[in-house]
């Protein structure tokens, strides 16, 4: 069984305790308390962090010393038999993502286009932008990144399933896997690395692919001239080095993203997982603050990276006058492949 490579000394000598001090869902009196609580987690002792963490993933980004505070919190919770979400919800997620041999594999050669286990990703990975790889789609639990189980503190599921997923890709003989799901890329890079799992192919982040393709299609781009708010997904905290790509893509297609309170490192989660874990009060509060902030910034569109965020927020932003759209569709709009009315 794989084990988390967590460096206790790095944590013990941390001068900032940013992992907890920057947390938007827990409060600490200062660095001393935050450090003390994190060290309790490190030592396997009881800590209020284990009860209060809402699983937003952000501490993975806040820690700039190469440790993995969120994975550790999830490990400790599981060791103690704790549940973040209600037990039946946790088990439901475990059951619904079991590999049952019901997967789809397209015309895969050197490259595969991963649609994870999310049906909405298939239609996104189409058209001019994906014309060379669309036929190489793969879909199913056998190719699903199991990172979602970190929300439920079931790292054992990840340790059991991720090597199988990696092996399934290896058997396809691919050199590159283009991950349409942000979380897949985070899983194949951050989580696999944290647990010492070897990935025998190159994971490609879809926004890298998107950016390169849009540069190639530059002649077809008609600047959109719109203002947007970007909804950063939790899994993007696993790969913060990829965040600048969003702004690069926006610039390329003539989209403005006015400065907001809740953006980049300070982004708010889509909150659907918070609803599952603790009820509607925190989730409603987070979503309201988030959408208020989008409107205050004068944006017209809410741009999504993750289909799960899109599913949880689309109706809510629409009701308040914002148009929900995935960033791939935004790019398709810029090259005239998708009409603006399509998102209404």
């Amino acid at each position: 069984m794989y084990e988390l490579k967590f460096k206790e000394k790095v944590c013990a000598t941390c001068p900032s305790s940013d992992c907890l001090l920057k947390c938007q869902y827990m409060s600490f009196t200062g660095q001393k308390e935050a450090h003390g609580e994190m060290m309790k987690v490190v030592k396997g002792k009881d800590s209020r962090v284990l009860n209060e963490c809402v699983t937003c993933y952000a501490c993975e980004e806040y820690c700039t010393r190469g440790n993995h505070p969120f994975y550790l919190i999830s490990e400790r919770r599981e060791e103690k038999g704790m549940f973040t979400a209600p037990r039946p919800i946790t088990n439901q997620w475990v059951n619904m993502t079991v590999m049952q041999g019901k997967y789809l594999v397209g015309d895969v050669k050197d490259k595969a286009l991963s649609c994870c286990y999310i049906p909405d990703l298939g239609p996104l990975g189409s058209g001019e932008i994906f014309k060379d790889v669309a036929s190489a789609g793969v879909f199913g639990a056998e190719f699903m990144c199991p990172a979602v189980h970190t929300h439920f503190a079931r790292m054992s599921v990840i340790k059991e399933r991720l090597p199988v997923v990696i092996e399934n890709y290896r058997k396809l003989g691919v050199k590159e896997v283009i991950c349409l799901h942000d979380e897949c890329y985070g899983t194949l890079t951050s989580i696999a690395s944290a647990y010492g799992m070897e990935v025998p192919f190159k994971p490609v982040y879809y926004m890298d692919f998107l950016y390169e393709r849009m540069k190639e299609l530059k002649d077809k781009i008609k600047p959109l001239g719109i203002t947007v708010a970007y909804q950063r997904p939790c899994s993007n905290r696993l790969i913060p080095d990829k965040l600048p790509l969003v702004k690069k893509i926006f610039k390329l297609i003539g989209v403005k993203a006015p400065k907001r309170v809740y953006q980049d490192e300070n982004a708010l989660c889509c909150a659907e997982i918070l609803r599952s874990i603790s009820g509607y009060k925190l989730a409603d509060d987070v979503q309201k603050r988030n959408i208020d902030d989008m409107l205050k910034a004068g944006t017209e569109y809410c741009v999504f990276n993750c289909p799960a965020c899109q599913s949880s927020l689309s109706e809510k932003v629409s009701k308040r006058g914002l148009k929900p759209i995935h960033i791939i569709d935004l790019c398709k709009m810029a090259i005239g492949e998708k009409g603006r009315e399509a998102v209404l």
Binding site: F83, A85, P86, R87, P88, I89, N91, Q92, N95, M96, V98, Q100, E272, R275, S276, S278, G279, Y280, S311, S312, K319
Partner: protein, 460 residues
Amino acid sequence: MSDILKSLIEIVGERGVSDAPEELWFYSRDPGVLAPHKPDYVVAPKTTEEVQKIVQLAGRENIPVVPMGNGMSLAGLVIPLKGGIVLDMKRMNKILEVNAMGRYAVLEGGTSQGMLKAYLQKNHPTLRHSLPDAPPTTTIAANVALHGQGRLTNQYGFNSDMVTGLEVVLPTGEICRIGSPSIGPYWFSKGPTLPDLSGLFLGWLGCTGIITKVGLKLYPNKKFRDVELFVTDRVDLVPTMLYKLTHLEILEDVNVWFQPKPLMFLGNYHITMFFTGDTEEEIEFKRKMIWDSLQEFMDSKDGGFMSVQYMKSALLEMPGRTIADFADVPKGGGFEYSGPIALIEHYPKYAAKVVELAEKYNVLYASAARLISGGHSMMFSISFAFNRNDPAMMERVEKALTEAMTFALDMGGIPWKPNFKEQKMVMQRMEPNALKLLMMIKKNLDPQGIMNPGNWEVTP
């Protein structure tokens, strides 16, 4: 051509009668496990007077008459156990009146659920009726005749409680109106404040007369309708959860279900709650009341709300298609369920019995219970799907259903739409004076025993 056939053609015309083998084959069966039995004739009347003449003819010739809606009871209730005439009511499908202010409709006895739904949507969009989760071709009169339930049953009771008057052709051929239409032009009450004679026909499965017109309560059709889905793996907590939910008095329909497939449903009990409102604020207010009522179970990690975004359209569909999907899992078109009306506190025992029976008889199970009248009882369905081309599987299902009914009766439950075998099981346990009363009613109304014979047939 027989004299009876000629007489039937004289009554309804040639296109309304058949004794063709393919027609008789079709009318001899339903999707359940009961063995088919052919009628001698199939007749489709268009008017109450035609029904009257057919019944009078049957009386003269002493042959059975089996009134039929869409034949989807799944319990063989319109299989002509002793042959005779199957009276297909579907051509009597007029919506005769909608009194919008009085919130009731008057319909002919073969009007389908789908027709009334479509009619109201088009002509009275602020009104609706309690639609059962049956195919839209099923008929309203048949549904109330078997004490059906629908999407408003938690709020307002059995669909038969929603009847506001009846027109019935008695086994003697007399036409009789029941309730307020018996003394005036309005169809607003089936009984009160008069002696409630509707009980002589509702629940009798066509054994005491043929419903040719039915008055039905309509209810406000709110602008918004929404759903929440709560899951738990603690079956022992389900009754308490339901108690807390029904205490809210805001839910129009509450279903509790569990099934082993697909895997995401394995091991959990699901409570689906439907609620409505005229504004988004009303919906959100009710949603919060629902979440608050179950918060303690979230806190203890014993239960939680599922995100229903991806399932919402399917859940809100009326009628729902998920039951039909389940029925098709083993292929072969077979589906039957035992649906006892039970106390909610007995839910855990019923749930355990379903799994026990499925394992014992190696059949595919699903169970979906529906709360009745704000939690006074529930219909607990023990459902089995099967391949009609697999006699061994059908036999196993029949045994499982019989055992389920025995269990339900042992638990003090009462069967919903029991087939003739289950009716006998009920009558064997019935208090003697109640059984005597039942016999008196049946004998007095149908002295020749020609109405749907074999059903509620009391043998001393």
